[in-house]
Structures are given as structure tokens and as C-alpha cells.
Amino acid sequence: MGITAAAARDEFQEELVIRPLHSGDIYASFQFRTLWDTDFLQEGQKVSHYRLFPKSLGQVLSKFSVRELHISFTQGFWRTMQWGQPFIPSPPGAELWVWFHDTVSDVDGNWKELTNVLSGIFCASLNFIDLTNTVQPSASFKPLGLGNATDHRFLRYATLPREIVCTENLTPWKKLLPCGSKAGLAVLLKSEKLFHSSFHSQAVHIRPVCQHKNGLDFAKILDAPSFCIHLCINCYLHLFTEWSLFKMFSRTLTEACPLATSSKVYVDITDNPEGELFELSPATPLLSQAVVLGDRRTYSVFDLTRAETFGQLRSLNLLLRWKGDGGEMLRPLLHAERYVAGFGLQTGEIHTVIYNNHPYRAFPVLLMDSVPWYLQLYIHTLTVTSKSRDNKPSYIHYQPAKDRHRPHLLEMLIQLPPHSMTEVTVQFERALLKWTEYTPDPNHGFYVGSSVVSALVPSMVAMSTNFTQDQPLFSSFVPVKEESSYFVRVYTEPLLVNLPTPDFSMPYNVICLTCTVVAVGYGSFYNLLTRTFQVDEPSLPLAKRLANLIRRIRGVPLLT
């Protein structure tokens, strides 16, 4: 028994993965991971010293007893069929889902305050998240971190599809990094180039993880689970025959973040084994293989913690020149779409289409739909068909909406037959809102958040279940339990529906018209009744008046 002082063991890793696609586009994914050395089981413990973990978020976590926090801001929609699967998917707009500790007594109160605090930290309108757009999923969104009990009463999920992302969201996000935007990979995050892309997403994921210390001999080690914050930016840029870091981000890399234990750049060269598709310079001998999203990929690695990566000029500017026209990309195994059908402003139909492109394997997917209350779903018209036959889901959870209190929540576990298209349709009626509930621009339409499709997709290649810290960050985000499948989440498009909108200028028009009618009609009537008429003698011109004067003197009758 004894007391020892353990050195603070916060850790920071950063990496950038660049995936060139055949169409000449680039997918760049930045991931920054900070491990916070604290005992998450002892919540309520007062922490007074923050090293690498940002203090603003640490205080939020302890004040609201948050076990896991996932927030993302996205501009654009990820086109799975053209671009493949992203490493960490996110829906358009803002998405926030939080797991609270079991000890929280008032989850809704904590949730409301948490959204307000986060809206201040990230300069976003997250305070619009309230009970009318929050749901409590019963089977989706299991925790991504450690934990035994998964009581869904402590989970809350909300999306704001209308939320925009711009520099004011990037500025506080960059301030969460230990090096800020001054050193390391974050110097490439310049807003002018970053937002000039087809897809941009920035996310913060906080969850408790295992800490594994290899080869360190402490006197007494408590291998306690600690918090890990994972910040990632995905962006998707169009480029042409030649691209370089300078062209994409208007910066080159000059040094790694001094506080980082590892700082790497990975370039996906799987489709270019002999160098016939593109040419990458500067050449690097380091190669690494990783199994990610069910596929084994090869990467060229640039290690920024080693001085020789930067060469003579002390700066790293990756250059890639396309040589040949590549073939087709592998079709992703799971894909989903959603659209609104129907006409008019009274009723409509939501269609969700899920594609299983695997040639012979069937697998289950969990579809979660959260529809706002003003689209009143007729759940008796819900149909699920695969290959023109009814497909009965093995699990349905439906929570009906309450006007102005709660949205609809529909969760279904559907088995997708191999090589098939499954269609889920449900009819709805559009509600008439009160006139104060309309937004200032109601003719734009109202957004319905994306559906979430979670699935365990069979993998072509054996996935590694060894969850050590030596793996690159992008391949170790989601914990893998089985070798034969990997977990993937696909988001559909958000919907834009028009609700019956009144003409807001009508009160003004009515007042004008009514007052005019009253003034003209009643006024004339009143005048007729109350006005008296007198005969008014017209005044004579000057000449006649003088003539009359002379006539008066003469005593002769006057002129009229």
C-alpha cells in the first residue's frame, strides 16, 4: 500500500489520410486524437489540471455527467455511390448524440443545458435542439466507448439539418487542439480552401477507451479507462491532373506538432501498385497496410516526427500527378437513398430505398427515422418490400409524435436479401402550423433529418480485432468484435418539404382594404345624412361689379 505520484500521461496523435479517386477528386481526412489520463468511472472528481485535453470540454463532461459525446457539423452530402464509404460518416447539418452516466437523475434537463453550452462553445445554433427534435433511440447508436450497461434511457439524439458550417465553427474547433492551428497538420486547415469543397465535415467524438501501455514499467499502474477525444475533418475536393498540398490547402507542412507522439500522413496507393495510375512525390520508402472498411489498403506513410521527411527545403509538399485513366471504383456494399413522393400540399409519401450490393450474402440493417411532428405519419401505411415481396422486419419500435412536444421515432431491423433493393414507404399528412411557428423564410421549406442505417456488413478481408494503439487512427475508430464483418453507418439525404404556408402579407392587405371600404362607404353615407346644403352665390367678375356699382347709382336693375 502506498501513494505514488504518476506523471500525467495525456497523449496526442494526429494523422492525415489522403485518398485519390479515379475521377481526379481527393478525399482528405484529418484525425486528431487526444487521450486524457483521468479515471472516468469516478465522475464528480474535481479535475483542476488540464494538459492536452481541452479544458472547455473537460468541464462540460464533468458538469453534465457525460459518458460519451458525439457532435458533427457537415456541409454537403456524402455521395456513397461515387465516393465510397467515408471513415467516419456524418449527416448534413449538425448532429449531436450523447450518452449520460447512469447516475444522472434528470436526463432531459442535463440535455437542454448541454446543448446550450455547446452552442456557445461551437458558435452554432444548437440551442434550437429541444424536445421537439430530440429522440431516444432504442437500439441504434450504441456507445462507441467502454461501458457495460446500455440503458437507452440515458441516450439522446438530435439533428439540425438546416445548420450551416462556416469559419465561425472552425475557429473554436481549432482551438480545441493542443497545438491550435500553429503547428502540425492543423496548419493546413485554412477556411478559404477548406470550405471550397463539395463536402466538408468536422466532428468531435469523446468516449472512454482502454489505455494500453506497452513496455512501460511503472511502480503501480492503474490501467484505468480514460477519455479520448477524437476530432476529425473530412473534406472532398475536386482537382484536376495534378495536385499538391499547396494547391489544395495553400500551405505546406513544415513541422509536426511538438506535443504529438505521432504525426503521420497516409496516401492511399492501393490502386497504384506499379505506378501506372499516378506518380507521388516525394517518394517514401515507408509503406503500411491497414484493413479498413472491409478492404485491405496500402498506404505510403510520411512520418512528420522524423526530420528527413521534410528534406532539404524543410517543408513537405506532396505532389501527385495523374498518368492514366483509372478504372471503376468498387461499388460499396450498402447504400441508401430517401425521397418524398406525392403532389400537393396536403399529403405525401416518404420512400427510403436501401441497396444491398453483396452478390450472395444477406445481412441485417437497423433503420432509424426521426420525423418532425408536423409531418403526421400514417403508420398503418408502412410497407417494407424487397424484390417485390413483403419483408417483415424482425424488430419494430415506433414512438408516435405528440404535436409540438415530440417527433416520430421509427426503428426497424430489416434483413436485406443479397443483391437486392429494399423499399420502405410510409404516407404522411402535412400539418398547418400556427403563424408564429413559421420561420422568417417559410417558402424555403422545412427540413427532415437524415435517416440512419446501421449495419454489420460482411467483410471481404479478415478484420483485425486487436485493439492496440499502434494501429492508425482511421482504421481503429469503431471497435471491431468479429473478424468477418465490420460496422458501418450510412446516412440518407435530408428531405425538404413544403408545408402549407399562409400569405403573411394578408393581415396588412386586409387592414388596408377594410379601412378603404369603411372610409369610402361609411364616409359617403355619413356625409349624405349629416351634411346640409346651401345655395352659394357665385362672385361676379370685376367688370360686372363695376357696372353694377354704376347701375346702383343710376337706380337701374342690377346684372346677375
Binding site: 500500500m1 483542476s48 452552442s119 456557445g120 450504441k142 467502454l146 424488430y395 454489420l456
Partner: protein, 382 residues
């Protein structure tokens, strides 16, 4: 002769004595001037009330003032910036993440380090008045509050579409000059400001300050009642007008000001005369106690910095002790934590059966231990 010499010597000695005295007087007057306005901190509330792409110029107006105010020293924590629509990342913007104020895209007033506190649908009359009077719900974060006290100088800048006695917010509601005057009176009674400078750039802007009745208010407007404020120049690349004339010349004037500048309010009143602005800018100083000629621009646009000069060395305290981990098997429960299955199909189907059979003991069956364990243990060394 002797008498003359004596007088000269006496005068010389007097001069010698009075020079350091005069110098200290000079320092004191300088220090006195520094604190003569009586304020100890500065705040700014900058509001753009217009929505839609064709009102780009109003957002550019607000961001120009934001940029100047930040440059002259007011930090983001003391600025409440309200933008009713997003122009920088709007899909119609040919250059995303930029808002320009000059044609030919010379000056990007959006910049790389901007924090917008209220954006989009949050910019409403109610939120604006709540910010001014301080009556916000308890869970509002600090960055959205105006935490001023009775020694604060506040700059309030409004821009958008207005008329005689009102300012339109987002095409759906309006604030009247009486409401604004009452809000300022509430601020005065709650001692929420020391001095307040109110600038408005809308059509018929002077009508908005006609009804003020609280002390220590100075107001500027871009046009008189009955006149329209005009926009400055369109940009053919972006396709909209980039700025309003009054704020354009105001920005030009403020770009010359630096934190130590001695420019005063009389110079500000001369910004944009009718020959340049077409409308006649107006101002109101009758409620203000000090003479405008003695009020520095930096009293409102800049920030007071509390600087203490010390010549002693200061010893920093010893570094914070790292967290001390207690060890002892009696204190710690050995609990095996695992990563949860992301899509436990069997469990979910079982949940369905539970719901149908209404059995409450189902929940305990949901836990499973898998290969990946993370054990909270204590390792003893030899």
C-alpha cells in the same frame, strides 16, 4: 547689475526645479486623460438584421465594424456579433468563406478568426432586447451575454432595412424606436453602461434615435428622416452590392485609426458628408455629458487594457502536483469493462420479444462479455 544677475539665477533655478515637476505634471495629465472617460472595459454589440443573399451588404457592413473593433483591441469575449444570415458559406458565394467589402475583392472582412454569437434564426428582436437588458435564460453561455457593468463603454451598431421609426428584423418583425429607447433606459437603471455609442446604418436612420431619453447616449445615423441610405458599389463577380456607402466610408476612416490614436468624435461626425453619401448623416449628442471633441474614438471602438508596470521580480509558484493515484485493493472494485456490440442483432430481436411479453427481467440478459477486456486492476511490482 547684481540684482539682475540674482533674478536670472533665481529664474534659472526655478526653471530647473519646475522642469521635473512639469514633467510629472505632464505624466499625471496624460494618466488623467487615460482615465478621464471613467470606463474600465469595452463592449460591442454588432447586429445585422437582414436575411437573403441580396442583403449581402448588411453582413459586410457588420463584419467591417467587427473587424475594426477587434483590430483596435476589443476581444471576442466582449463582442456580441449577431448575423441574421450566412453569406460566407452561402451556396451562391463564388468565393466561399469570404465576405468582401471592396470591389475587385480587395478586403476580406470575414477573415480566419471570427466568432459569431447569434446567427440565423436566433437574430430576433426578443433576443436582441434580452442581450441588451441582460434578461437571458440561465443556461445561456457566456459568449452570448452582454456582461457589462456601470463602468463599461458599449458600442452598438445596427444595420439592415429600416423606415421612419422602425428597423426590420429578418423580414418578419420589427423593432420600433420607442422600444429601443426603453431598452436603453432599462440598461441605464440597471447600471449596465457608463457611456453608449449607437450607430445605425439604415434608411431614415435618424428616426431611431429621436426618442432616446437616457443619459450618456451618443448616436449616429447614416441618413435623416425622409432620406434613403444608399449602397456603395456592386461587384460583378459576386453579383450583389458589397457595402453601404456610410459604412464604407466609416471603414475607411477606422482603418486609419490605431489603438493610440487621438482622433475624436468630431472627426467621426464628419465621415461621409452629403457629397459622398448622397444622404445626410446625422448625430445626436445632447444626452451625452462630455464634449464630443474630448471623446476619443478608441473610447468606444478600442479597449481599455489594464496594465500594471512593475519593476519587482515575481516568483512563480511551484508547478502543480500531478494527480496522486491511491493504491489499495480494498478501495477498488475489480470491474471488467468491455466495448459494446454495435449491432447486437439477437439482443434487439430479444428486446422485441420482451416488449411483446412485457417482461422486465429481459434487460439483465443483454450484457455479454467478449474477448476485448479492459480490466481495472492493480499491478503489484516485485
Amino acid at each position: 547689475m547684481n540684482y539682475c544677475n540674482l533674478i536670472t539665477i533665481f529664474a534659472f533655478i526655478n526653471l530647473l526645479v519646475s522642469i521635473p515637476h512639469g514633467y510629472s505634471n505632464y505624466v499625471e495629465t496624460k494618466a488623467g486623460q487615460f482615465f478621464s472617460s471613467g470606463h474600465t472595459n469595452n463592449w460591442a454589440v454588432l447586429v445585422c438584421t437582414s436575411r437573403f443573399w441580396f442583403n449581402y451588404r448588411h453582413v459586410a457592413n457588420t463584419l467591417s465594424v467587427y473587424r475594426s473593433v477587434k483590430r483596435l483591441g476589443i476581444p471576442d469575449s466582449h463582442i456580441v456579433l449577431m448575423l441574421a444570415d450566412d453569406m460566407a458559406c452561402n451556396y451562391r458565394n463564388p468565393k466561399p468563406a469570404t465576405v468582401f467589402s471592396h470591389k475587385n475583392m480587395e478586403l476580406n472582412v470575414y477573415g480566419d478568426d471570427v466568432e459569431v454569437d447569434y446567427r440565423g434564426y436566433e437574430v430576433t428582436v426578443e433576443n436582441f432586447l434580452r442581450v441588451l437588458t441582460g434578461r437571458l435564460p440561465p443556461s445561456t453561455p457566456r459568449s452570448k451575454r452582454l456582461l457589462s457593468d456601470d463602468r463599461s463603454n458599449i458600442l452598438i451598431y445596427l444595420t439592415g432595412h429600416g423606415g421612419n421609426g422602425f428597423l426590420k428584423f429578418q423580414d418578419s418583425e420589427e423593432i420600433s424606436n420607442m422600444e429601443l429607447a426603453d431598452a436603453f433606459e432599462q440598461m441605464w437603471q440597471k447600471r449596465r453602461y457608463n457611456e453608449l455609442l449607437f450607430i445605425i446604418d439604415t434608411c431614415q436612420g435618424a428616426s431611431m434615435y429621436e426618442r432616446f431619453y437616457s443619459p450618456n447616449l451618443m448616436a449616429l445615423a447614416s441618413s435623416q428622416v425622409g432620406e434613403d441610405s444608399l449602397s456603395h458599389q456592386p461587384d460583378l463577380g459576386i453579383g450583389v452590392h458589397l457595402m453601404d456607402k456610410y459604412t464604407f466610408y466609416l471603414l475607411e476612416f477606422l482603418e486609419e485609426v490605431h489603438p493610440a490614436s487621438q482622433a475624436n468624435m468630431n472627426d467621426l461626425f464628419k465621415v461621409c458628408p452629403q457629397s459622398q453619401c448622397v444622404s445626410t448623416p446625422g448625430h445626436r449628442t445632447d444626452l451625452f455629458q462630455r464634449d464630443p471633441g474630448s471623446v476619443l474614438i478608441t473610447d468606444f471602438f478600442g479597449s481599455v487594457r489594464k496594465v500594471e508596470i512593475t519593476k519587482d521580480t515575481i516568483n512563480l509558484t511551484s508547478p502543480v502536483e500531478p494527480p496522486i493515484k491511491r493504491s489499495g485493493s480494498s478501495d477498488i472494485q475489480i470491474e471488467s469493462l468491455t466495448y459494446v456490440d454495435q449491432l447486437p442483432v439477437a439482443e434487439i430481436i430479444h428486446q422485441q420479444d420482451c416488449l411483446e411479453a412485457n417482461v422486465t427481467r429481459c434487460r439483465r440478459k443483454q450484457q455479454r462479455t467478449r474477448k476485448l477486456n479492459c480490466q481495472v486492476v492493480e499491478k503489484q511490482t516485485a
